[in-house]
Amino acid sequence: MDSNMKKTINQARFNRRVLLILFSVLVFSCSDDFFDQQAGGKISPDQHYNSLEDVINSSYFGVFSLTQQASINLVVIDGLFSDLMETTGNASQDMIELYNHDVAPGNFFNDPSIFYKIIVNANEVLANTDAVLNRDIDYDALVNWAVKGELVALRSWAYFNLARLYGEVIYLGPSGVSSLPGDLPVIGREAIIDTLINQVEAYLTELTFIFSTHFINKEALLAELYLEKNDYSHAASYAKLAIETLDDFTYNPSAGRSARYYRVDRTFEKAKWRNIFVNAANNPQTVMTGVPFSLSNNQINMLEEYFKFQYMIKPSRLITDLFNSQNYLKGAGDINRGLGISFVMIDENTPMINKYSLETTSYLDAHNILYRAEDIHMIMAEALNRLHDTTALIFINNGVKNVKGTLEGFTTWRDNLGIRGRVELLPVTVPESITDETARMEYIEDLIIQERSMELAFEGKRWFDMMRIARRRNDPSWLASKVAAKFSDPSQAEAIRNKLSTQENWYLPMEK
C-alpha cells in the first residue's frame, strides 16, 4: 500500500467523519425553542402576566369588557319582563318571547354564558396575578390584593345577576375552566348570596382601585346583596359606605379639594339631569359603574338600535303615564327626567325610549350604567325604611341639604339634594290616613320603588326591584298585577297574572 493510497483512504475517512458529524448535528440539533411558534393573534399565559400593565390594562379590563353584552341583555330582559317596556311590530321573536314571559332556551337574550364568561375570565386572571409579584416591582402585595378584590367584585356581580335571573347558579368555584369542567354544584339563590357576601367582604380594604368608572363598587354590591336577603341594617350601612367611597384620584386636601362622595348634588340638578347619560364615563360624581361602547371600534350599543333606529321596543304606557302625572314645582309632569329625556313622543301615539340617545354627537355608543349614586341612595332609603328609620323619605324627596338642623350620621352630606328635589319634583308624602306602622312602611316602600322606576327607568333595575319586594312581602300577586297591567288585552293580562303568581315562573329557563 503506497502512501498516496493511504492518503486517499484517510481523506475519505475524514470526509466520512465530517459528514457523519454534520448529519448527527442536523438530527439532534432541535432545541425546545424550535416548537415555540406564534399561533395567529394569540398569546399564551407565559407571554402575559409580566407587569402591572398586563394585569390591569389588559386583563382586568378584558374581564370588564364582557359586561358590554351582559348590560344590554339585562336592560332588555328587565324592561320586557317588568312593566316598563312593550314590544312594537318590529320586535324580534326573542323579544316577543320575553314580553310574553314565554322564553325558549335558544332565546338570544337568555344567554347565561355571557355572565359565566365574566366568571371564567375573572377566575383566570385571579389565578395568575400572584405570579406578577415577582416580575414587576411596582406590583406589590397591596396592589395585588386590591386588584383581586375588584375581580372578585366583578365575578360576584355576575353570579348575583345569574341568581336573580335564573333562581340558581352553577358554581364554578375558583376554576378558570382551563379544561372542560365535570359535574359542578348547583347552588340556590339564598346560598349563593351568602357565599358572595363572604367573598366580597373578604376583600374590603381601605385601598380602593378606581378604574375610572369601570369597576364594581364593592360596598354598593354588598348593599344590594344584603337587601336581597332582607338584612336591612347591613344593606343600609353598606349603601351609605358606598356613597361615601373615597376617590383617591381627586382627593387632594392640599389643593383644597375635599374627598368626593357620590352625593346627589347640584352637578346634575334640574335640566342638567340628562347629562348623567351624556359621556357617562366622565361623570364619576354620580356614575359608579359605567360600561362604555365605541362605535368606531366595533362596539355597538345595540340598545339604541332596539329602541330608536329599529324601534323594536317602546316604553310602556304605565311608565310614560307615571312620568307625566308627576307634580313639577311649576306644573305637571317630570320635565327634567320624563318626556323629552327618558322618552320622547315621535307622534301622539308613538313613544320611544330616548335614554340611550341623549348623547347627540354620536350614536350607537351610549354608555350603559350598572350602578349610579341615585340607585344606591334609594337602596339605602329602602333599607332604612324597613328599619323604621323615618329619615328614609328625605333621600327620596329634598335631601339632607333641606333638613333643618343636622341629620345624625349625615353631617357631611350637606350637598345632598335628594332624588326628587334635584329635579324639582314636589315631595311625596304618606297620607295622614295611613296610621298602621306596617302599612305606612309599605306605603313608603311603594313610593321608593316607584321613584326608582322613574329615576332608573330602562336601566335594568325594575324587574329585580319587583321580585325583591314581592318576595319580601310574600305576595307574588304584587308583581303579577303590576306586570299584567301593561297588557291591553284582558285575556292576555289575566294569563300573565296567573303565570307570574307562581314564583317559579319568574325565572328564565336554563339548560344545564
Binding site: C30, I43, S58, G62
Partner: protein
C-alpha cells in the same frame, strides 16, 4: 384483438426455439435470450444486456438474440436500449429469456417512480401510486396540477372556475377532515411546497394558485402516492403529489421552444327574460303589491309611456346583459428550454410566458416562469444539484362570490333588460360616455362591475434548493437537501359606487390584502442498500426532515371614499369606522420527522417494507407534540413465481396490501390545545379575553389507511391495470362541541368524531397495433364513499350544522360530512284552503301557488324540525378516460372526464327564479304558477317572498353529474432532422368541446372556496368555455 394475437405469435415460437437451445448448453451457465419491442414485436438490435453481478455485458444481434455467461441461475440481468425503459429481471432458474421492451413514452412496470425517499421501478412499489408525464394533451392548462384531473384514480381535481389563474381544488381519496386542511402535500423536486396556506383574500371567490411556481412544460413527471406515507408523519394524511421538473442536462446543447395561440369562445348563456317579457313580469309584481295603474304610471312613467315620458330612454332598452359582459378570450404561451453541459456540470433551464384572457373584458391571467436546474459532479462520489424556480403572476379578476351586488355573473342574470350599460341622453336617447347607475330595479350594472370593479392579484413565488449527495461506497450514501420556499402575494379590489348597489350603507369599498409565506427545509437521508448479488434485496433509509414555516397576512377593507376616483385603503370615511375591517395573522409552524424506512425483497417475488416515524410539530401543545407513525406494506409478485414464469402473456401480477398511519397538522384548531388569549377592543384600547376552553388533550388527527391492490400487466404490457381498495379511518376527528348553556359562549374542540372513507380505484390502459396505427385507450374509475361513524357529543344529540350563505350543511352519524341540509318540497299548493292550514318557514300561513314543503313531523308547521339531508356535494364516482390514435407522425387524442352523483346547490337558479324582487329572472318563471296555470313547478310571483318559497330546499339542489370532452388534440410530428431543427410538432386542439349534463347552471365543474364547508355551491362561477388553439413544439 387481432393485433395482439399477431404480435404474440412470433415470440412464442422463439421461446420454444431458445428453450431447446438451452437444453444443449447443459451445466455451462450460459443463457440465451431475445429482445423485442412490446406491441410491434419487432426484434431490437444492439440492446445492451448486462449481468448485474459481474458487469459482463453483450449486445443483441440483428434478430434481437443474445448469449451471455452467468455465474448462476439467480443472476439478475439488465437490458437497456435508448428510447425504451430499462428492464431488470432475475433469471430465477431460466436458461433463456424473452424480453419485451416498452417504449419510454408508454407506462411500464420498469418506469422509475420518483418519490421523496427514493426512486424505484414501478414493479417494486408496494404502495397505491400513479405516475404520469404530462403530454401534449395537457399543454394548454395553466396550473401544474390540472393534468392529473381524471387521469389518476382517487384524485379529485376541480378548477375553481373557467377563469384561469385560480387554485385547483385537489383532494386525494376524499375529504378527510372537518377542520384541518384537505389539500394534499405537494413536493416539488424534493421540496415540500404547501398549497394549503393561502385561504384568505379580499376578492370573493378568488384564491391565488400556489402551483404557479411550476409551469406544465417544466414537469418531467408527476407521481401521486396515496398510502405508505408514514415517513411524512403529520404531513402525510392527505396524500402526496410529487412533481419533478426536468433535471437532466445533456452534453450537447439543445434548445426547445413551445408556443401556442388560441381563442376561448363565449360560454353557453342562460335563458333570461328579454325586455317585453320582463315588462309584463314587472307589471304583475307591482300589481301584486296592490299598486293601481295610476300609481304605477306616476312612479314608473316610462313603463307604459312613450318617448316623451320621464327617463324613457334610460328604461326602454332591450339589453342582453350576458352578452354585454362575456367576450371571447385570447390564449397564448411562449416557452423556451435550454439544456447542456459537460461531464462535470450540466444544466437544464427554461423560461417563458403564458397569458390567458378571462371571459370578461380586462380580465386575464399572465405568468412568467424561470427555472434553473443543474448538477455538478464535484468528485466521483460527491455531487451537488442546485435547483431554482421563480414565477411572477398577475391576474385581473372580478368578484365571483355569493354577493349578488358584486358578482357580475349573477348581476347579468338579474339586471333588467330595460336598462343599458351606459347612461342615455334624456332628450335624444344617445349613449353617453359614463356608466349608468343602479337605477329602478336595484341590481348592479354588470358592465360597471367588470369595468370599474376589477380586482388585481399579483404573486411572486421563489423556490430554491441544493441537494448534496455523497456516496461512501456502493452500499452507503448520504443525501442532504436544503431549500427555501417563498411566496408573496397581494390582491386588491375596488368596488365602485356608480353602478353597484349599496349594502349596509357601503357605497364604495377599497380592499387590499397581502400575504407572505416562507418555508425553510432540510431533508437528510442516510441510505443503505445491499446492492444484491443475491436474491435478497435490502434497502434502508434513515432520515430526518425539518421544516420551518412562517405565514403572515394583512388585510384591509375600507369604505366610502369621496368618489370612485379614490380607490386605495385609508381613503375611506372614518365615520363608518365600525364597518371598516383590519385583520392580520402571523403564524409559525415547525415540523420535524425522524424516520426509518426498511425494505426487503426476495427475488422480485416477496416484498416487505416498514416505515417507523417519530414526528414532532409546533401545532400542538407539548404533551401531544410528538407522534409515532408506523406503516407496513407487503406485496407478492405472482408473476415471478415458477408456475407463472412460463406463461408468456403474463408480465405482471402483483398483490399488495398495506396499513399505515399518518397525521394532519395543518389547522389553526390546534391552537385550542394551548392556553391562549385573544385580543379584543374595549372602548378605545385593547384588552385580553379568553373566549374558549382550552383542551390540553387535543390530539393530532390521525388517519389509518388499509389498502389492498392488484397490479396487472398482460400481453407484454399492452394491457395494464391497477385496482386498489382502501379504507381509511380517522378515529379522532376534531369536532366542535356544543357546551352546556352556561358555557355556550365559549368554544371547545375535542377529538370526539370518527370518519370512514372507503373506495375503489381502477386505472387501466390498453394498446392495440394495427399495421401502422397504434391505438391507445385508457381510463380511471374512482368510487368513493364517506361516512361519519361517530360523534361523541358532550351535550344533547344535535348534529353539527354549518351554514354558508343560505345553504346549510349537516354532519351526522351515518351520513357523509357536510351534506346539504334543508327542506324537501313536493309541488305547489293548488288551493288557499290546503295552503292556509300550513305555517310556512317564514312563520306565516302559506297561500295557493306557494311551495309545498314536506312537513316531516306532520304538525302543519314548517320549521327547523322539517329539514333533512337533501343532497351530497361529493361525487360517488368520478374519473376520466382517453383514447389516442397514432399513425405515422399523426397523433389524435381525446380526453374525457366525468363525475357522477355530486349534488350542486344552484344559487344562480335560486336568484333567477326567486321572483322576490324587481330583478330579471330566468325565462322559466314565465311558466310560473297562477290560478290559470296550475300545472307549473314554479311558485306564484310574490314580491318580497312573504311565504319563504326561496328558502334553502331541494328546489335548488341539482344533480351535477357530467361527462365532458375536455380536450381533443391533433398533432403532427416532423421527425426528420434537418439542419435547422431536430424535431418539430405542430398541433391543433379544442378544449371543452362537449359537455353532457343535466345541470341547468353554467357549468357543473367548479368549486367555490378551498374549504369543504363550501362544497358544491355554485354562486355563479365563470364557466369553462370552448377554446381552440394551435401550437408548435420545436427542438433545435
Amino acid at each position: 384483438m387481432k393485433g395482439i394475437l399477431r404480435q404474440n405469435f412470433r415470440p412464442f415460437v422463439l421461446v420454444v426455439c431458445i428453450s431447446c437451445l438451452g437444453q444443449f448448453q447443459g451445466q455451462s451457465q450460459q443463457i440465451t435470450g431475445a429482445v423485442f419491442e412490446s406491441g410491434t414485436g419487432k426484434p431490437l438490435k444492439n440492446a445492451a444486456v448486462t449481468n448485474m453481478s459481474t458487469g459482463d455485458f453483450t449486445e443483441t444481434s440483428d434478430s434481437g438474440n443474445f448469449i451471455l455467461m452467468v455465474p448462476d441461475e439467480n443472476t439478475k440481468l439488465s437490458v437497456t436500449m435508448p428510447g425504451y425503459d430499462q428492464r431488470e429481471i432475475y433469471l430465477l432458474g431460466r436458461k433463456s429469456v424473452v424480453i419485451h421492451m416498452v417504449p419510454s413514452a408508454f407506462n411500464s412496470v420498469d418506469d422509475v417512480v420518483i418519490a421523496p425517499l427514493r426512486n424505484q421501478p414501478a414493479r417494486d412499489i408496494m404502495n397505491a401510486y400513479a405516475a404520469l408525464t404530462p403530454g401534449l394533451e395537457s399543454s394548454s392548462v395553466t396550473s401544474a396540477g390540472q393534468p392529473v384531473q381524471g387521469k389518476i384514480a382517487g384524485v379529485q381535481m376541480i378548477d375553481q372556475s373557467g377563469m384561469p389563474g385560480q387554485k385547483t381544488w385537489t383532494s386525494i381519496r376524499g375529504v378527510s377532515s372537518y377542520f384541518a386542511h384537505n389539500d394534499p402535500l405537494v413536493c416539488i423536486d424534493g421540496m415540500i411546497h404547501l398549497i394549503n396556506y393561502s385561504n384568505n383574500t379580499v376578492i370573493q371567490g378568488y384564491t391565488p394558485n400556489p402551483m404557479d411556481i411550476v409551469d406544465i412544460d417544466d414537469i418531467s413527471n408527476i407521481t401521486v402516492i396515496k398510502d405508505g406515507l408514514s415517513y411524512l408523519g403529520s404531513n402525510g394524511s392527505t396524500g402526496l403529489i410529487n412533481i419533478n421538473t426536468e433535471q437532466e442536462g445533456e452534453t450537447s446543447t439543445s434548445i426547445r421552444v413551445h408556443a401556442y395561440e388560441g381563442i376561448a369562445m363565449l360560454p353557453k348563456l342562460l335563458p333570461v327574460m328579454e325586455a317585453g317579457q320582463f315588462k309584463q313580469f314587472f307589471t304583475e309584481q307591482l300589481q301584486g303589491q296592490g299598486y293601481t295603474a295610476d300609481e304605477i304610471n306616476s312612479s314608473y312613467p316610462w313603463l307604459n309611456g312613450g318617448p316623451g315620458s320621464t327617463e324613457y330612454y334610460r328604461y326602454s332598452n332591450n339589453t342582453d346583459w350576458q352578452k354585454e359582459i362575456f367576450k371571447p378570450a385570447i390564449l397564448q404561451k411562449y416557452y423556451i428550454f435550454l439544456k447542456g453541459g459537460d461531464d462535470i456540470a450540466t444544466y437544464n433551464i427554461s423560461t417563458g410566458f403564458v397569458r390567458h384572457e378571462g371571459p370578461f373584458d380586462g380580465t386575464f391571467y399572465s405568468r412568467y416562469n424561470l427555472r434553473i436546474n443543474g448538477r455538478i459532479n464535484i468528485t466521483d462520489k460527491f455531487s451537488v444539484t442546485p435547483n431554482a424556480k421563480l414565477s411572477l403572476s398577475n391576474v385581473n379578476i372580478t368578484e365571483l362570490g355569493d354577493n349578488i351586488a358584486t358578482n357580475p355573473v349573477t348581476a347579468s342574470l338579474r339586471k333588467s333588460p330595460l336598462m343599458a350599460p351606459y347612461a342615455k341622453d334624456p332628450a335624444t336617447g344617445q349613449d353617453l360616455e359614463y356608466l349608468d347607475d343602479v337605477g329602478a330595479f336595484n341590481v348592479s350594472n354588470p358592465v360597471a362591475l367588470i369595468r370599474d370593479g376589477l380586482g388585481h392579484g399579483r404573486s411572486a413565488n421563489f423556490v430554491a434548493s441544493a441537494k448534496l449527495l455523497y456516496r461512501f461506497n456502493r452500499h452507503f450514501s448520504l443525501q442532504n437537501l436544503t431549500g427555501l420556499d417563498y411566496s408573496n402575494s397581494r390582491s386588491d379590489i375596488f368596488i365602485p359606487d356608480i353602478g353597484v348597489i349599496a349594502m349596509d350603507s357601503v357605497n364604495n369599498s377599497p380592499r387590499a390584502f397581502a400575504e407572505n409565506y416562507q418555508s425553510t427545509q432540510n431533508h437528510a437521508i442516510l441510505s443503505y442498500k445491499n446492492n444484491a448479488i443475491s436474491l435478497h434485496q435490502i434497502n434502508v433509509q434513515l432520515g430526518m426532515w425539518l421544516m420551518m414555516n412562517k405565514y403572515t397576512f394583512d388585510k384591509g377593507i375600507d369604505l366610502n371614499t369621496a368618489t370612485d376616483e379614490f380607490t386605495q385603503i385609508g381613503q375611506g370615511n372614518a365615520r363608518l369606522n365600525y364597518l371598516r375591517e383590519i385583520d392580520a395573522d402571523n403564524r409559525g409552524l415547525t415540523w420535524v420527522s425522524y424516520y426509518g424506512s426498511f425494505n426487503y425483497s426476495f427475488a422480485d417475488k416477496y416484498y416487505l417494507s416498514s416505515v417507523l416515524c417519530l414526528d414532532g410539530n409546533s401545532a400542538l401543545n407539548e404533551q401531544n407534540r410528538y407522534n409515532f407513525y408506523p406503516s407496513v406494506n407487503a406485496a407478492w409478485r405472482l408473476s415471478s413465481e415458477e408456475f407463472l414464469l412460463p406463461v408468456s402473456w403474463v408480465e405482471e401480477i402483483k398483490i399488495r396490501v398495506g396499513w399505515g398511519k399518518t397525521g394532519n397538522m395543518y389547522s389553526s384548531v390546534y391552537d385550542h390545545s394551548k392556553y391562549y388569549y385573544n385580543q379584543k377592543k374595549f372602548d378605545t384600547y385593547g384588552v385580553l379575553v379568553r373566549d374558549y376552553i382550552p383542551n390540553e388533550n387535543l390530539g393530532l388527527e390521525t388517519k389509518s389507511t388499509l389498502n389492498a391492490g392488484i397490479d396487472l400487466s398482460l400481453f407484454n404490457q399492452l394491457f395494464n391495470t391497477h385496482i386498489d381498495f382502501f379504507q381509511s379511518r380517522i378515529n379522532n376527528l376534531i369536532i366542535p362541541q356544543h357546551l352546556p348553556a352556561y358555557l355556550s359562549g365559549m368554544s371547545y374542540f375535542d377529538n370526539g368524531g370518527a370518519l370512514k372513507n372507503s373506495g375503489i380505484e381502477i386505472a387501466s390502459d390498453v394498446r392495440f397495433y394495427f399495421d401502422k396505427i397504434t391505438w391507445q385507450l385508457g381510463g380511471t374509475i374512482s368510487i368513493w364513499q364517506q361516512e361519519i361513524t361517530r360523534l361523541d357529543l358532550l351535550v344533547g344529540e344535535k348534529p353539527i350544522i354549518t351554514s354558508a350563505g343560505s345553504a346549510r350543511f349537516i354532519t351526522s352519524v351515518g351520513s357523509p360530512m357536510n351534506a346539504f341540509y334543508g327542506y324537501q318540497t313536493s309541488g305547489i299548493f293548488q288551493t288557499d284552503a290546503e295552503a292556509m292550514a300550513v305555517t310556512g318557514p317564514n312563520g306565516v300561513p302559506m297561500k295557493a301557488g306557494d311551495i309545498r314543503f314536506v312537513d316531516r313531523d306532520h304538525n302543519q308547521i314548517i320549521n327547523e324540525l322539517d329539514k333533512t339531508i337533501i343532497g351530497d356535494p361529493n361525487p360517488g364516482l368520478f374519473g376520466g378516460f382517453f383514447t389516442t390514435l397514432t399513425y405515422r407522425g399523426f397523433d389524435l387524442s381525446l380526453f374525457f372526464n366525468y363525475s357522477v352523483g355530486n349534488d350542486i346547490y344552484n344559487y344562480t337558479k335560486q336568484v333567477s327564479q326567486s321572483m322576490d324582487s324587481y330583478a330579471n329572472q330566468s325565462t322559466s318563471v314565465m311558466d310560473r304558477w297562477s290560478s290559470s296555470n296550475t300545472g307549473s313547478e314554479i311558485p306564484r310571483n310574490a314580491y318580497g317572498d312573504p311565504s319563504g318559497n326561496t328558502f334553502f330546499s331541494d328546489r335548488w339542489i341539482e344533480d351535477g353529474s357530467y361527462l365532458r370532452l375536455k380536450q381533443i388534440t391533433l398533432s403532427y410530428h416532423f421527425s426528420r432532422i434537418s439542419k435547422i431543427y431536430r424535431g418539430m410538432t405542430v398541433y391543433i386542439k379544442a378544449n371543452n368541446l362537449l359537455t353532457l349534463t343535466k345541470y341547468s347552471g353554467y357549468d357543473p365543474e367548479f368549486f367555490y372556496y378551498n374549504d369543504p364547508f363550501y362544497m358544491g355551491i355554485d354562486y355563479g362561477k365563470i364557466p369553462h368555455s370552448q377554446s381552440f388553439m394551435i401550437g408548435i413544439k420545436l427542438d433545435l
